[in-house]
């Protein structure tokens, strides 16, 4: 062990015997620990929510979407379907058929404009009477007074010729499911089977796009590259992350802002470390002069206080990380912060500890603590040894 480290360790241990320095150094270590713990818990809280949002994103969004670069129809939809179906980990491949129209109650007295599409996930139970089942969004169902089992009429913006002239294409559907709204997706107002969607949209073959779901959504980027390499030019392959890029960016931005804000506690703790070490430099001026008389270099004096800053940083960061991680795990395991289930989709506030973030907080706190020691350490290295000894007599 270098002698600079021995001295720094001894200063840290010995300072406990001097009440004023002990108080200041304890405050320094505690301040850092509190800041680190607060940052870890804040990030765990945010990660808990964001992980749920991301998993919902992965669950509700198609994992891969292949669409034409230009136009609104796929040039070779069958080829696209085959390529997607042959991808490693592909679970399902569905065409995207969507359009706009009107949704009316059975009496036709109440109508509203809607966006429709074929069912993107989960089959709908057939009603048994030959009427196509539909999944209706909760707001649309409320406005039309529809309940599961209600009959609704969908009118397409397309028309067909009749003896009395062009009339809109209309389809009768039975409400099989009312879907609760989510801010995470731009969900259509109504979904029904592919055949109904084709009839309303007038797309008898092909599709506007094809979407695939994967067994592991985390491999979407990798699989997307495979799909791109197997498809000719003129197709755009997007992953669920790209489809939700604005939301992903907002989540990352939110985390960065929280990190920067809570990290200010660590910066304040670092200021404490500056004052603590500066006080110690002043108090140990004579000893520094003596060390110089024994042959120590100014750089060595500086290293003593940088080491001290690192030690304070290590203890404070270690304690803070331990408290933060343990608290986050316990808060999550015991559902310590409940949420009203009828208001939120969650029953409790989730906490998720990401090792990468813990390491980031640790490195930041440690670097800040050592950085805080730089100023007093430089002051120590500039000490005039003769004067320090002369004035301490």
């Amino acid at each position: 062990m270098r002698y600079e480290v021995s001295i720094a360790l001894r200063y840290l241990a010995a300072s406990r015997k001097r009440a004023h320095v002990a108080l200041i150094s304890t405050i320094s270590v505690l301040g850092l620990a509190v800041g680190v713990a607060a940052l870890v818990i804040s990030l765990a809280l945010l990660s808990g929510f964001q992980d749920r949002i991301r998993s919902q994103m992965a669950m509700r969004s198609p994992h891969l979407v292949v669409s034409p670069v230009r136009g609104d129809r796929l040039a070779d939809p069958e080829r696209v379907r085959e390529v997607l179906a042959a991808l490693p980990g592909a679970v399902s491949v569905d065409p995207v058929l969507e359009g706009r129209g009107w949704l009316c109650d059975a009496s036709g007295r109440s109508c509203l404009p809607v966006r429709y599409r074929n069912i993107s996930r989960g089959p709908l139970r057939l009603s048994g009477d030959g009427v196509a089942p539909a999944r209706v969004s909760a707001p649309a169902a409320v406005r039309l007074g529809a309940e599961p089992g209600s009959l609704l009429r969908v009118l397409s913006a397309r028309t067909r010729l009749s003896p009395i002239g062009p009339i809109p294409i209309a389809v009768l559907v039975r409400v099989a499911e009312i879907r609760r709204g989510s801010a995470l997706e731009k969900a259509p107002d109504i979904e029904f089977p592919e055949a109904t969607a084709r009839l309303l949209s007038g797309v008898s073959t092909g599709a506007r796009a094809y979407e695939a779901r994967l067994a592991d959504p985390q491999k979407a980027e990798l699989v997307a590259r495979v799909a791109s390499s197997r498809l000719p030019g003129g197709y755009r392959v997007q992953t669920w992350r790209e489809l939700n890029a604005p939301l992903s960016f907002a989540l990352r931005l939110e985390k960065a802002v929280i990190f920067a804000t809570v990290a200010l506690v660590i910066v304040v703790a670092a200021l404490n470390i500056v004052s603590n070490i500066a006080l110690l430099v002043f108090e140990k001026k004579r000893d520094l002069g003596v060390l110089v008389s024994l042959g120590a270099l100014p750089g060595s004096l500086s290293r003593i206080y940088l080491t001290l800053g690192a030690l304070v940083g290590l203890i404070g960061t270690g304690v803070g990380l331990l408290v933060g991680v343990v608290a986050s795990v316990l808060l999550d395991r015991f559902h310590a912060v409940p949420l009203p289930a009828d208001v939120y989709l969650l029953t409790h506030v989730p906490f998720a500890v990401h090792p990468r973030e813990v390491v980031l907080v640790g490195v930041f706190a440690l670097a800040t603590a050592v950085g805080a020691a730089v100023l007093p350490a430089r002051a120590a290295s500039r000490l005039a040894p003769g004067e320090a000894i002369r004035l301490s007599r």
Binding site: R10, V290, L294, A296, G386, E387
Partner: protein, 231 residues
């Protein structure tokens, strides 16, 4: 050969009010292996002179040569090495590091020189035995008497086998018996190790046991009446 050659030294400290000039145009020489005492009233710059000779302070003007090597020509690293290897300091108030044991204090010069901790402590233990403090090696300075503290400080000063020992009133803070004992130890070590020793003291009796006595005043430094010294 000259162990110490200080020529035309001037030193002024920036005081709280006006600058304080300690001395101007002061010259001092000392033969190798001599045991020299410097006496003089307080405030004439005896300690400052030792600091300049030891390279822990720099003169405003003038030149200091230690064993023919001009300190001003040395880079900071070389000057630190010279202090570590060839110069030993003993201060009036021992100036031991209070957080460390006697043995650890004496081991510091070795640790600074890069000697591994275990070896440094072994050598320190030998030195403490030499100065009669074998049983006090694990004591912190505050657990030692004034005389013992100064013995530890002497052991620390000679740890690296210096050629020049600069002792600034080493007995000034001790009772008569302890002072005699500490001075006796310095005499023994001086003879035993062939060092050049410069001793600042206010005690005429102790000074009289040195090879030379120099008298320092506001006007400069010179041999005391009846002293065989060069200055």
């Amino acid at each position: 050969m000259l162990a110490v050659k200080a020529s035309h030294l001037s030193k002024t400290y920036a005081g709280e009010g006006a600058p304080v000039t300690v001395f101007t145009d002061l010259s001092f020489e000392l033969e190798e292996r001599s045991f020299a005492a410097i006496m003089g009233p307080s405030g004439v710059g005896k300690s400052t002179l030792l600091h300049l000779l030891g390279g822990i302070d720099t003169p405003d003007s003038g030149r200091v040569e230690i064993f023919g090597q001009a300190l001003e020509e040395l880079a900071p690293r070389e000057r630190a090495r010279l202090r570590n290897d060839r110069i030993g300091f003993v201060f009036q108030f021992h100036h031991l590091l209070p957080e460390f044991t006697a043995e650890e204090n004496v081991a510091f010069p070795h640790r600074i020189a890069g000697v591994p901790a275990v070896e440094a402590r072994r050598r320190a233990a030998e030195l403490l035995e030499r100065v009669g403090l074998k049983d006090r090696r694990d004591h912190r300075p505050r657990a030692l008497s004034g005389g013992e503290q100064q013995r530890v400080a002497i052991a620390r000063a000679i740890a690296r086998g210096p050629s020049l020992l600069l002792a600034d009133e080493p007995t000034g803070n001790l009772d008569a018996d302890s002072a005699a004992s500490v001075f006796g130890l310095l005499e023994e070590l001086h003879r035993e190790r062939g060092m050049t020793t410069v001793l600042v003291t206010h005690n005429p009796e102790l000074a009289s046991r040195c090879d030379t006595i120099s008298l320092m005043s506001r006007e400069g430094i010179g041999p005391a009446p009846g002293s065989p010294g060069r200055n």
